[in-house]
Symmetry: C2
Subunit: 371 residues, 2 copies
């Protein structure tokens, strides 16, 4: 089951407020989804995810299929129970990882043969297999199996990936059969507007309860990404949730909302966190820099997270330099809180007809103040 | 400032209940102290340490001196403020690390020249330097600088280390000058009872507010460790806290309490946690074993910690196999909770004149049930 309610549209842009109802509760959109690749959002435990306001998390079908295996998770009572997360979960299709984490072996209209990045063992993913795995995981939102053409793919290759994505979307839909799980379609089309349009038309024709834009933020220049996002989003139906996959920088989120996107996910805040990279109202910075050695102010003066209320840049820099897990934790929690709170402020600004002003103020500060 | 109040003595053994008052609050003894080597108990944050009932933590002078440096921590307002821990802290003297983490360069009655394990730079530690660093850190309890003879040291070497430890204890005491920090003496003497006795007499003569037994659990057989602990503890004054350094297995803790020890510390629960090693009422086990793959019971059925109330062996095994920080966190928190709760039960059993029965029941179960 999945319901989307369009609560409000911005007057000056395509930004919109919505509410998605899933089997595990409601989600206020636009929303950022923390990524829990291996049935855990790296360094975080569920109590903290709830505390910082996570409404839904994403988990990776490819990784869970390989380890610990979807059958084990099914035996555990599904992914929610296995990882003790009671709110909604979205699983991706595994397509992106199969194509990006492997030296491709064989691809056909039936599916993809690939080698495990863990032990090199051979596996075969197909639309049917992806559905089987996602149904075993029991996520609230599953994604149709797709082919994500790499950045730089030419027109002809992009067409073939698009056509295969459409065929696989139909196969996914026909095979999918789960009482509580909804299946979203994915629009591909690479860097070509006319192919984005064609893919959108073909996928929308299959009538999914929600749609994702895949294949963006795969290495293309920022302007190209933003232009394609802005072009593609309005092609998707107004009465269904729209999701851009793999996007999480503050400016992409704001531009995505402006284009009419409701859902985002990205490993950025968690991956940065483990490397000392900090997202803040004053822009991005690395806590490893010597200038923070004796800086006893918080990571972000405007932030109310546990990290910023209790610890200094100096202390966190020390932990990161000493390779202490506590340091990874403190920055990860801050980064996630920062993005989740940004989305909350965005939602409030749409509610208050103030989104454009909010976006301008936020981005001006984010880009202009150097720290 | 430091006060020790002896609350109750067991009738059947030397076990005792006490209360230590420090500048950062009271500690109920006997107590286990989690180790926060680099100004953080590995994987844990202060809110969780409080939640699981940590009354006092230990931090390492040697490590903090090298990184981030005691002057920086002093500038931050002291170690409590730097790491945001408001309860008592004990710092060791750095002696054990200087001797065990380095290929010794030069040792004299003045002190020890050593190379940093981080960057190889040369440093010199002396009783005066150890006091200077510990006073800058501002811990509640500091330790006199000592020489810990390695296991296997012969009688003559052990005597020279004992004599140096006594000289350094006096130098430490003479140099130490801190309004809120108390200085404990350390008894050495290696594996020789008569040298333990001599060291105890020399150190007690200096009249410290508390005494530690150092140089145990350094590689000697279990029986030898227990015998020396049992022999040495009663040599220490009844009206001061007694501390055995570097001890943390459940049986050592129980035998230590039985011998009249009040304080213990060890990296065991945190180090095990990062390797998948679990302490439980049914003994020690490694969660990596294949038998736990689809075991959906908690780590320890008798445990009330966050980990055991919310996650299965199967899930935690998956996290550890996938090298996920969340897995290290879950086991570390459980292991610490297990030892802290064991100490709490020990305190209750002394209060209720039931310590011997409790110890027998606990150890029988710990050793007899295999899981």
């Amino acid at each position: 089951m999945l319901e989307y309610k369009l609560l409000k549209k911005s007057k000056k842009s395509n930004a919109r407020r919505g509410e998605i109802t899933t089997s595990h509760g409601k989600i206020q959109t636009p929303i950022f989804m923390p990524v829990g690749t291996a049935a855990t959002v790296k360094t975080m435990l569920p109590r903290e995810l709830e505390e910082i306001g996570s409404q839904i998390i994403l988990s990776n079908t490819y990784h869970l299929y390989l380890r610990p295996g979807h059958e084990l998770i099914k035996k555990a009572g599904g992914l929610h129970k296995f990882m003790n997360w009671e709110k909604p979960i979205l699983t991706d299709s595994g397509g992106f990882q199969v194509f990006s984490l492997n030296n491709l072996n064989k691809i056909s209209d039936e599916g993809v043969e690939f080698s495990s990045h863990i032990d090199g063992s051979k596996h075969f993913f197909s639309p049917e297999k992806s559905m089987e795995v996602q149904m075993a995981l029991g996520s609230d939102i599953a994604m149709a199996f797709d082919e994500c053409a790499p950045y730089g793919a030419d027109y002809n290759y992009t067409i073939s990936a698009l056509e295969r994505t459409s065929k696989w979307a139909l196969k996914s839909k026909n095979y999918h059969n789960h009482e509580y799980q909804s299946l979203f379609g994915i629009v591909q089309g690479g860097m070509f507007k006319e192919l984005r349009k064609r893919s959108a038309e073909e996928i929308i024709a299959l009538d999914f309860p929600g749609y994702a834009i895949g294949g963006l933020s795969v290495g293309e220049p920022s302007e190209m990404m933003l232009e394609l996002q802005e072009y593609t989003a309005p092609l998707l139906p107004d009465n269904k949730p729209r999701y851009v996959m793999g996007v999480g920088t503050p400016n992409y989120l704001i531009e995505g909302v402006r284009a009419g996107i409701d859902m985002f996910d990205c490993v950025l805040p968690t991956r940065l966190g483990r490397n000392g990279g900090v997202l803040s109202h004053n822009g991005y910075f690395s806590i490893r820099k010597a200038q923070y050695t004796d800086d006893f102010t918080p990571l972000d003066n405007e932030c109310d997270c546990y990290t910023c209320k209790n610890f200094s840049r100096s202390y966190i820099r020390h932990l990161i330099k000493a390779n202490e897990i506590s340091g990874f934790r403190l920055i990860t929690e801050h980064n996630l809180y920062f993005l989740l709170t940004l989305m909350k402020k965005i939602r409030n600004s749409i509610d208050n007809d103030d989104f454009e002003d909010f976006a301008t103020r936020f981005l001006n500060k984010y880009y202009s103040e150097s720290i």
